[in-house]
């Protein structure tokens, strides 16, 4: 029974969701509304679980003085700082999201530059990786190389200055061969998802139970 009950719940819930998606009228429509609201509420609580797991993991690391525990300390202090500034913002201005609050100040002058810097580093690594990886070793690599160069030049204004048809060539690559490959992948992924969903619904795939 420990296995059969969860399997039955999965099957019935999936069936309700499928039927209510196809027939959004009473009584199925309201069943779907309730399920969607439950989903939203559960998604909210998963955030709490995430916070709990994060704090627990880093607290243990600090307690046991594991390698890099100082970073964990910075994380927990940062977390506390944001929570406190959020609460203060809520009390002083009615919402932590008020643009005058310390929470927004911390976000604008800490999170924004930190995340932007991390992402900006990517351009340096991409340039270096492109130089190393794009070698015309065989026919496939040569095709990839030529396409990459055409798209790279066609998607920037300097390409247009070099040759007015560069953007049109890049657009054609994106809208025809690229799109055809993407659509093929998309259809494959969708069919795969459908098959896995059916397997879960019918109880053939049970790995989520363990």
């Amino acid at each position: 029974m420990r296995r059969e009950i969860p399997l039955a719940i999965t099957f019935i819930t999936a069936l309700i969701m499928i039927v209510s998606f196809c027939i959004p009228h009473a009584p199925f429509g309201s069943m779907q509304d309730v399920s969607l609201k439950w989903y939203s509420i559960i998604a909210g609580f998963t955030m709490l679980l995430g916070v709990d797991s994060l704090i627990h993991m880093h607290s243990v690391k600090i307690k046991r003085k594991k390698e890099g525990w100082v970073y964990s300390l910075v994380l927990i202090l940062g977390f506390a700082l944001f929570v406190i500034s959020g609460i203060i913002g809520g009390i002083r201005f009615g919402s932590a999201m008020d643009i005058r609050s310390s929470f927004m100040y911390l976000y604008t002058y800490m999170i924004v530059p930190l995340q932007s810097t991390m992402f900006a580093l990517l351009s340096f690594f991409i340039a270096s990786a492109a130089y190393r990886a794009f070698r015309a070793r065989n026919m496939d690599a040569t095709l990839l190389l030529i396409t990459a160069v055409l798209v790279m030049l066609g998607r920037v204004p300097v390409g247009y200055q070099m040759w007015h048809s560069f953007p049109a060539v890049a657009e054609w690559i994106m809208a025809v061969p690229q799109m055809a490959a993407k659509r093929g992948i998309l259809i494959g992924v969708s069919l795969g998802s459908l098959a896995v969903s059916l397997r879960i619904m019918l109880g053939i795939e049970r790995s989520y139970l363990s």
Binding site: G94, Q115, S123, A127, S128, H164, M179
Partner: protein, 284 residues
Amino acid sequence: MSIFEKFEKIDRRFIFLLVALAVLTPLIFKVTMKIPISSPVKSAFKAVDTLPRGTNILISVDYDPASMPELQPMYRTLLYQCFEKGLKPVMIVQWPLGLPLSINTMAEVAEQYNEMARKEGKDTVVYGRDYVNIGYRPGGVAQVVGIGKEIRDYFESDYRGTPLDSLPMMKDIHNYDNFALLFALEAGSMGDIYVQYANARFGIKIILGMTAVSAPDAYPYLQAHQIIGLLGGLQGAAEYETLMKRPAFATMGMTAQSWVHVLIVLFILIGNIGYFISRRKKRS
């Protein structure tokens, strides 16, 4: 080792230095270039520009500071366009870290617009009457489907906790039927969800603004007319700025990106010359 063989093994610190110079120089000296306009951006612009005054438009701000340089210029220009055309934007956020960005930019653009409006004797825009930000709620897919019926089931209040019904603009807004279109600014997969549920099920017209890396994913939707316009990366943002005749960060950034692209192409070329020469030497 000959000079050509050295081409194959350029020190990556040298590449980094040149990339830094290629990015910084045009930004410091504010060099701009003519931006060619692509048809997906043109149709996106036209779709917004031809909406009658007073039309509601839903803007989904789904990115964080990592994708901000590409998507923020789109958001900024779009908001300005809405204010100028008398459209009524409702902002919704699906990424928790995107909420402060959406609020800050909304406040900045509104202030900028109001300053200009006062100078030119036009009507200013007021929060709650002309634009609203309903903020972030967890639940992604469920929320996208649920809004098709009633927005208040998921968003009882705006980002500051003000009940939606007390905001004049929101009184008659209940679901997708009350919006002329949805402009989604996406750094992740929410664009797919909007197309699969909001468009396929509820028929709302969608325009996607995406990061350059994820824009290719949207081409099948564009070809199937599931979206009516597409802005891809900084180039898309620069094109939108050009169409709005308000060149700003994206237009300037495209010069930097142009230079870096040319630099990468040159490095690829040099690397291949070195590769072929050293291969020929090895064979002989």
